[in-house]
Subunit: 289 residues, 5 copies
């Protein structure tokens, strides 16, 4: 069993390396995103380039939520101590294939203790990491409660061609808030009526949806994954922010446009967690008083 | 492990320190609330000011429900004895960041044994408390069954500007009943049709909703949290009363106005519990015959 | 631990002491009910008056359902033997505050093994009993699966004033069947459209609902509890009968009137159990071959 | 503990003793059914007459589904060996009151391992059997996952009076296939709109429903139970067949008539199992490699 | 207990032996499928002919999903080592009656760890395999979470007779991608409105549904099972692909036609797994760090 305890270099500057992205069909040019990322690619030679992966299309995003089984807490403290290092070693071993983000949800979000986002261009390689994670001493106590796979794509609607002014509006502002401490994941499914609209009608709805969100570009980051057929949802929307009040207002804006009438799933679950290193998430969930 | 057994000064006068608040979009001026609170701020120097926190906007309210795992009861009695003191010590340790209320739900409410409301201006600090609570000897036996986060805001609809007479009506009466022994929590989610109404239409609906509730200001206290995007609900409505018959009538009044046609979630779960000290809740759930 | 094994005097003549009541908004004068009760008040000096409590308004009815954890059956037989006596002692200890009815559901009703109805005028006292019940050696093996609180009220619709003839019809017949062996509990929730009808429209619907039910007064007893805001239901309807075929026909009659179009919950769960003493319910669930 | 291992004479010729019945409101004269039963009444003097019970009205049918707890498989093989004999002894002990059918569902149907159908004219006696079954060494490892009670009735719609030709059509054919190896149970619930149709309208719908089903009389047996108010369903439809393709076509026919628009529950769960003796079901679920 | 560890010859060339099939009512002539299969029938004399079975009508497809109980991981490593060989031996023992495919879902799909597809012409024989599988040392730790049975049929709609051009379109292209690594299973249920359309109307809808899918014949394989009455779904649609992006686009196409308005179930669950040998699935789930 791997027990390396040295901090994983990929993960320590994690808070700064937050992803940039697009709200469902509300998107900013990807080059702009990559430029605004303040963190250089990690030094480890074989590791994936985080900035690139987070801005590229055709990347899988695998979101999973977990509950820690309570019998974990019957283990002696000493046995639980090394668990986070073991998980970090697994993350490190797969760093040439996947980028792993953990979020602490306990006390904030429904019934789950933490959730995970794993990016990779080969979904089978993502699964290999997931299998190895679940085979750790911590992983065997983790009960999966939800698992949604999505894939990134190039822009659909608010492109320079189709919607010039809005596209410019999206590009004219970028996140200027403090490093986000919170991530929110909201799965979205749309009705058959939505999918049966013409492309023009859907563009019009998305434009109406985009307008009120421009003002939140400065304090909420967004990223969009497409999931139709890959999970029981059409989209996975991912947000990072340090201003949950602004985020709440953004979501009310998105609820207040006609597009919302086409949603058959919005959340269920809504995941709310704090952005933390793998180390701190596992420690928070394996330490007792 | 902290085992201090001395009563937590913040908590003992709890029954008197009930919160004041607003029903979803049915609100009274906050100054009035603060004035009517009969309890002075607790003596402990670093503790949050309960009266202030309960009246302020931009405060997070974190509601969570728990079921006690039955294997707790296989522990020897002696081992269960100190559990409430340990929880109280954790509450005390975080008193500069969060205010913690516990409610005993066993035998009253769905499948849960107790629920918790935690207030704080920094949600990450609220989570830190939650992590520490779950790490207590009692906490590791608590299975989270629901967790909803909301945030307080200034008034939306029934303001002096927008709805002068109703605002005056709300301010003209205040709770005069006995100290409430019961708390009820009702999550509310509204349809896309609601959110797509104009602000004027929503104001009109809320006015119709407010009228029949004026008479219950004297026997039901109310507080409102906004949750869109933070949880799978739009509002968390919180009530305290000593007169459950009056509360039942208030809820029938709220069911009997057109606004109710826009609800897609009302309860599910409805939480009903008795307002008790941390001490008494933990003792009630850890003591056997 | 209390281990008194003497039969609880309150409970032994239970079958005769069945409650009388009203179907949701289908009500008979309460005096008539009280008169038709064949059992005198129990001799124990401090005990609540069962006949009075079952006929009075403003009484809480607390319905809870339980599943027995299977690890109970790994206990040695001897240890399980005294369990019913312990429960009976707890019931006896609270008899001045609550009236407790148990029903054996195993093999008849959904996934639950038994359900309980507790009446009391002070809900906090009802909870105290529930806490003590769950603290018994049997109680710690009981997993709560549902818990609904309601309150009795004076008649709403079919009063002598509002609906003279139907009210007379309701009073002209009373239960003449054999002592009921079965109880059925059906939670009912009504839509926003129902609650937005005028009082006159609702009266008309309830009259249409009442007509076909008159013929079942002789073989089905009924009692109604109001739950709006106290649980995720508007009403708890409770029935006792010895003729399940007649009951099935009554329920088809109630399904066949327009009022049924306003129901958003009817059952879910429908609870069906046999009326038994506390003793026999606990014994049936703690004895193995 | 009863440990008789001799085969229960009631059960061994079970496959031939399949029930005859009626599809919801699609019924054949009961005499015809009784005649076509190829098995004589069992020899045991006190046992219920299977043929009679399966053709009579006012008989309760109690359907329950179970999942075997996995800790059963940690018991030593020797301890699991006698389990089926013990269950058979319990069935035998109650044979004067109930008729018990078991079906093996593992690997075929949702999450359940087996289901059970118990007939009796006194539901309390049915429950007594259920209690005794659950008290066996096998029964304590059985987790009930669903339990639906229904009652048989005389024909409602397709009677010689109301629908002469269809009634004749129903009587003109009977099951001629191989002994059925499969049973399917489908709970059906109808909307308030259905129940508010006039009797004439419902008759018309049932006639339309009956026509396309006539051709399946030869290869699918059917039996109907009424459940309104006794469970969260209106009907329990029970089928036996050896030709699942024909059964699938019958069900498509039933989906393709307007009556289907009135269904609010169809299945959920649909139970599919093989018809087996008590012995073989219990053995299949208690034997390991 | 069988402990043969030699690889099962049926399974090793599995990836090449992927099934060909039809999307719900979107079908290609079966002869063409059989021809395009690149794998010869396995050498083992008694084994079913995989190519034939996968192309034939009247074959049962039994889909089941499983979660591995976490107490498996408390077993000593040595004890878990032989588990995959034991499962393979069971598969081998039944190879004259069933064809077994396993898929690794952990980390990709909802809450399940793996799923299974079993084909056979006799469903009782399929169940016998399922019983034996669950009786293995691995099987007793597998908790069934879903189980759906369907049956293959000859073409319904896009036949040479009814829809000549589309039928030709379907036949003109076949899968040319890399060996599929992913399988997706999507249960589909249609509304009463769908089933009440005339055959002509349904044909028209299916034609509209078929058009946009032609382009995906080259990179997504499809197979259709009919389930009405056999499970709580009407169809089980099964896909294999190595190009999940193309698959996502295919599913969006299928969402964007009017037929989609008739769906009451689409997924729930959507199963996504990697196609693997029995050996590798069981090893992945029984090995720890």
């Amino acid at each position: 069993m791997v027990k390396s305890r040295k901090p994983c270099p990929l993960l320590s500057p994690r808070v700064a390396a937050v992803s940039f992205g697009l709200l469902a069909a509300l998107a900013i040019g990807q080059a702009a995103f990559a430029q605004s990322a303040s963190m250089p690619a990690p030094a480890a030679p074989a590791a994936l380039d985080r900035v690139k992966i987070l801005a590229a299309p055709n990347v899988f995003g695998d979101f999973s939520t977990y509950r820690v089984r309570s019998d974990l807490y019957r283990l002696p403290t000493a046995e639980r101590k090394g668990m986070s290092a073991e998980v970090m070693a697994v993350v490190d071993r797969h760093k040439d294939k996947v980028i792993v983000d953990l979020y602490l949800a306990r006390g904030l979000s429904s019934k789950d203790d933490f959730f995970m986002r794993v990016h990779g261009t080969d979904l089978a390689a993502v699964q290999k990491f997931m299998i190895d994670f679940r085979a750790t001493r911590f992983g065997v106590f983790c009960e999966a409660t939800e698992n949604l796979v999505g894939v990134t794509k190039a822009l659909n609607y608010i492109t320079p061609d189709k919607s010039k002014d809005l596209n410019a509006g999206l590009s004219s502002a970028s996140y200027t808030g403090d490093a986000p401490r919170y991530a929110i994941v909201v799965p979205i499914k749309k009705s058959a009526d939505w999918w049966n609209l013409s492309a023009e009608q859907r563009l019009k709805e998305i434009e109406t949806h985009t307008h009120p969100t421009l003002q939140y570009l400065v304090n909420v980051k967004r990223k969009l994954y497409h999931s139709t057929g890959l999970a029981d949802t059409d989209f996975i929307t991912y947000f990072e922010t340090n201003d949950l009040g602004a985020f709440n207002n953004l979501m009310i804006s998105l609820a207040s446009v006609p597009e919302n009438k086409y949603h058959t799933r919005w959340g269920a679950p809504t995941l709310l967690g704090t952005i933390q290193t793998v180390d701190s998430v596992v420690n928070a969930l394996t330490t007792t008083n």
